[in-house]
Subunit: 403 residues, 2 copies
């Protein structure tokens, strides 16, 4: 396979960016793009043509695209609730899907991707770019080297002041508005949880067992709308249901706990709220610091930067040579797309596979259920049917492997 | 009342320190001290005599002390599980108790102090020194000034590497060993929770409604003991039950959430894990930084020190003039003991009263229950029987008021 033919479904800001990025790859042809809106199709097609010289075909229906186009892979960057159904349709058409991140609306949705992958033999990928962040990769590397000792607790999350984007969602044809208007739970769990899951060997020697979620009141979105928009603005004509801060605690089979925070409705600096803690010490993202007993420096925080320089993951070392800064989100967007292309081109089992995908997005469903039940613990299905325990869950293959 | 006569029960490191500190007060006579161990009685009596010139009477039985001594107040710094029963005995003897911090073993225990206080008319105090820490006081002051906007979420906890003290507990006659050997929950919740409770007006316009708690595995204590002690050391002859990191989420009647962390069994720097978040911004203890929208500086952290200089609480301003640094824990030990003496001498309702006490220590019982039930939510009793809602819960009086 000299060139991998890829289509892109969902051409909002993120999807159009992916289409353009993929069209810069030597081994990729972006052959088709798809969205419900024609202006988005034209915009994405323009950007791909400008970069690669080849204009992709445009579709408003992904089913038609899968039927007519001879594609190897499809990248799905549509609204959260449509990822899985589009991925299932792709697999049934013999096309390898990768989806952008989000959370599931039902456990059945999670099973649909797992079962379709198992039945078709297609190996889809989940495009959690943060798994390829420099810090996250260095922490994975340091954990595997044993520098934290035995891991006991992790924290992570998505803390990002999005109140203006959310409340203006209808103006921007963005699905966030609707999700925040009607749901309540951790509706965007994987930026923090993906990297911690690989650190904890989830689905490969470990698994999520249970989750509790408790939501704070909602006030940030309506407070913002009231202050900035007219009385007849859509955001001023409903009470958003999504709690401002949703905290969840996941218990793992290995006894580790993961504290997960969703915090996007109030003014605050960005953070993924990371903490990694073992018998030998602790790392804190917000402090950008680490303290390890084996360093013999006492209970004193040290800047994490020095540790990254020393313990960069081989994946980061390799790709940082190409100058990752020019790519989105500090380079991790480039790596995650390259990993997807590699999985198709070289038939490598993807770095983040369908079992990771299903168990990570299941967090959203279970979190919503727990919030609705006042914090009652909810149990995770074992999407691997015991493979996590007997060692038979497939591992990532090739240079992008995170297992 | 010219001199307040105070006895001290429980003369380990903390109790002996309180006895000595109180004996330096111009308006206090430390008239009696009590412990199960004679060497501790002699040590505390020596320290009080050295400071004040007067040797207190010594007792091994607090009941005998309450019967024989004509005391106004008693400070209780015994083991966690004995605070309430000693306080109840004191109130029944007409003596005003104040207890050191800890957590309850049963809800009945919490009610026993509330009901005895209501029946006797005695107004006991809970000695949470962290409520008088400089940062905590400044945050209280800033919250009341509205600088955080509407509060939506708090975090707090007790993160302190105590594994050596815990595992050597039997050598040191310390009750921690036994608690960590047999319990599992947030067994020491109030250093973080006390200050956040005053910020959230708990028991006075707000209350704790429910809690979920999830404990990580235990490995820190046994790992430490195995590495440092002989095979026949007590810590190497049992498996400790207390999870290394216990996270709890409390939901308040006002819709706010409090994330509470107990983390004392592994190597790490000290922290009370503070976070205070409202519609106008956020403060983070571990970052020692704050970000407020109204400052018009964007989503950028600023050092918290400048804000403390600007917004120090009146209590801190007043007492910092006397040079608090020479006292324990940055001066807050002095202030909390002075508040207790003031409540007796000037008949002021105490800054931290029996309703605060009962609801704060109830966290331990409910946390243990939730952990035992896999994280199932547990409901808080309303120890005020509705007074929190109708505005009749008594407030602190005098210069130490935190309400």
């Amino acid at each position: 396979m000299e060139k991998v033919r890829i289509g892109v479904v969902g051409l909002g800001g993120r999807g159009a960016y992916h289409a353009e990025l993929l069209s810069t790859f030597d081994d990729v042809d972006v052959t088709a793009v798809c969205d419900l809106y024609n202006d988005r199709i034209e915009n994405a097609a323009d950007r791909v043509e400008k970069t690669s010289g080849k204009r992709p075909a445009g579709y408003t229906d992904y089913r038609e695209m899968f039927e007519k186009e001879d594609m190897d892979g499809v990248l799905i960057a549509s609204s959260w609730t449509t990822h899985s159904r589009i991925a299932v349709a792709a697999m049934k058409a013999g096309i390898t899907p990768a989806t952008e991140v989000g959370g599931a609306a039902s456990i059945e949705e999670c099973y649909s991707v797992v079962k379709t992958a198992e039945e078709t033999g297609i190996e889809p990928m989940f495009l959690e770019n943060c798994n390829f962040g420099r810090e996250e990769l260095a922490l994975l590397n340091m954990t595997r080297m044993g520098l934290f000792g035995e891991i006991v607790h992790c924290q992570c999350g998505y803390e990002h002041c999005l109140r203006d984007e959310i409340t203006r969602g209808n103006e921007n044809r963005h699905y966030r508005f609707n999700n925040y208007a009607h749901r309540n739970g951790d509706i965007y769990p994987t930026h923090g949880l993906g990297p911690m899951s690989k650190i904890l060997k989830i689905n490969r020697g470990n698994r999520f067992v249970s989750i509790v979620s408790v939501a704070s009141k909602q006030t940030g979105l309506n407070t913002h709308a009231k202050k900035h928009f007219d009385k007849d603005h859509p955001a001023n004509n409903l009470i958003f249901t999504q709690g401002d801060v949703v905290n969840s605690i996941i218990k793992c089979a290995g006894g580790e706990t993961i504290l997960l925070t969703h915090d996007t409705s109030n003014f605050r600096p960005y953070s993924r709220a990371g903490r990694l803690q073992g018998t030998n010490g602790i790392w804190l993202e917000d402090k950008n610091a680490i303290c390890l007993e084996s360093e013999n420096a006492g209970e004193v925080w040290k800047p994490f930067g020095e540790y990254m320089d020393k313990y960069d993951h081989p994946i980061w070392k390799k790709f940082s040579r190409i100058g990752l800064d020019k790519y989105g989100h500090g380079g991790m967007d480039f790596i995650v797309d390259a990993a997807f292309v590699d999985s198709i081109k070289n038939r490598n089992h993807p770095a983040i596979d369908v079992y990771d995908w299903a168990s990570w997005i299941a967090v959203t469903v279970l979190s919503e259920q727990s919030v609705a039940l006042g914090g009652a613990p909810q149990l995770f299905p074992d999407f691997t049917n015991g493979s996590w325990l007997d060692g038979t869950t497939p591992k990532g293959e090739g240079e992008f492997c995170l297992d």
